[in-house]
Subunit: 341 residues, 2 copies
């Protein structure tokens, strides 16, 4: 079984984007703001969006199941206010829930959180609970920069995050650390802000005692861990210089996906990072949509790189494709076992 | 000959730091601010700092010459105001100039620029000229984030940088893109802000026509190019998706150093990036000072990784160690030729 731990509903019907535009246009005029019930997306529209998009690619590329979350770039926590974010998160989470109901064998839902700059992360707990306990979500995406490229909120290791982490531990769901779009002209979204967010979060975790305080808390750092595996020696050295626990210790709680879009990159990842810490992911349909003119293959067809990596045994590949995801997402494992998988 | 393109005067006598503290304490009280002439550092103190530090390591590790600039983390462009930065830059540049005079065979100077948040980059031109034309500097360090971790200034491709780039082209000196310290609690300096700065700058260059406008402008992106080589497929794919010139085209003007502190990282770099675009660098004495307990070697002894890289021929190593630096820094080449080297 091949589980893709990183997929977003990027093919969502355009009516959602139109609703969002209206919502943002009426942040200061709540009386005329669109209501949740104003958004009409039929099951057929969802089916069409998925069947012509992510499901088609699953089949073509040979993966079986995707952990599926709302469009990361559209989480837009920096837009509007806390209420804007709350309503928008519920709406987006409900849509991926519907995908998971229409295609239960292929998509398992992961939620976005109603974060908002300056707002307490604890305010995300009710939506997290709703998604996990009522709707069967198995994980969440946590934005390390709700300010959208200005990094005005405290690091992920700040005490203000602790109530949320307590809840993640209680529910036994991991968080993927994932920024949203950048409103800072210095940072291109998928080309800079995404990768910077990953690198930044890893270093924040390295500096703090968060995993002493929450020994079972688990984070997936996507996009292959940002710059971290490439600079593995820098991080190992910094941990020693700064008298912090080793990077190896940190890897009890941190996992990287395989969203690295070329063979040598995936080979570095699988050579450096313990195989138990690598989860198959493609981010498709996402950041890069074209084909490599040198090979004719899609850049984001990351299964091919994992298959071809010279560092991996069949047992290693099984961990990356399935076993690690089932271990890191116990609610996914339970759901699969219920189905006899 | 082995040229290290990336060294900082991190062993500078403590009196400099004390002077800087006083300077910053008197930003709003210029009458009582310390004068440049108040800083007394003797040639013997400089000799001791270098002989016990960078020169010792050059000899031990077998490099011959370092392109030597003031401490990157202390450029602190975000501290004080434009005048603070001007005075501080002159002082720091004068110190590396003195190093280059005391050890002309071993250290060739590279300057910091008196950038200041919100200030026009054109204001750096007089100090750049002074360093290059009067003091024999061969390059400069350009901070892509003078705000020190908040990224409040425009991207490096903004038109406001163009007068400075015209001058770099006229003087035929390259710039190393190098952030300073971070005052943003989200970003550890050497573990996040440095690497993010590199990744960010590359993506800025990818998005703009700066090298159409300045076909001979050259940038070194340090720390192995940040996350870029690891995510080479992402950047190649983004360039295609965004209908930008290919990454290969971009590499006419962009160079990466070898400040990647483990063997597999340097192997990825030298496997992916054209050998003409890689310059030997160690960043020593710098970001990581300890030894790898697994090998007993210093993390930042990057010569060992280049020597051991399986992707490189002897001719390739000669390019990385010497020829590329002489090509990218023509004023270094001229100086070496004058000496018969």
């Amino acid at each position: 079984m091949i589980i893709d731990c990183h997929g977003h509903f990027t093919t969502v019907p355009r009516t959602l984007h139109a609703w969002r535009e209206k919502q943002l246009a009426h942040v200061s005029d709540p009386d005329n703001a669109p209501k949740t019930r104003d958004l009409k997306i039929s099951d057929d529209e969802i089916r069409a969006a998925i069947e012509g998009g992510q499901l088609k690619l699953q089949k073509e590329r040979g993966s079986d199941l995707t952990l599926f979350s709302p469009i990361a770039g559209q989480m837009g926590h920096h837009l509007g206010n806390a209420q804007t974010s709350q309503t928008w998160s519920e709406l987006c989470n409900d849509l991926v829930y519907r995908v998971s109901q229409l295609f239960p064998d292929n998509f398992v839902p992961v939620c976005q959180l109603p974060q908002s700059p300056g707002d307490s992360p604890a305010n995300c707990i009710p939506e997290l609970r709703r998604c996990v306990e009522q709707l069967g979500f198995v994980g969440c995406n946590l934005n390390p920069d709700p300010s959208g490229g200005y990094w005005k909120d405290p690091p992920l290791t700040d005490r203000s995050y602790y109530p949320l982490y307590e809840e993640l531990v209680r529910l036994d769901v991991p968080a993927m650390v994932h920024v949203s779009s950048s409103c800072n002209p210095c940072f291109h979204g998928t080309g800079a802000h995404y990768i910077n967010g990953d690198t930044t979060a890893f270093m924040q975790f390295l500096l703090a005692d968060i995993f002493v305080d929450f020994p079972t808390l688990r984070f997936i750092i996507p996009h292959g861990g940002g710059a971290v595996p490439y600079h593995w020696g820098r991080y190992r050295g910094l941990a020693l210089d700064l008298k912090r626990p080793t990077v190896e210790t940190l890897m009890r709680n941190i996992f990287f996906d395989t969203c690295v879009y070329h063979q040598p990159g995936v080979e570095l990842l699988t050579r450096i990072v313990p195989v138990e810490n690598v989860l198959f992911g493609s981010e498709m349909i996402g950041a890069v949509r074209g084909r490599d003119p040198n090979t004719g293959e899609f850049f984001d067809d990351t299964r091919k790189y994992v298959d071809a990596s010279r560092n991996l045994s069949a047992a290693d590949r099984n961990k990356i494709f399935e076993a690690n995801a089932r271990r890191v997402f116990p609610r996914l494992d339970a759901r699969l076992k219920q189905r006899g998988q």
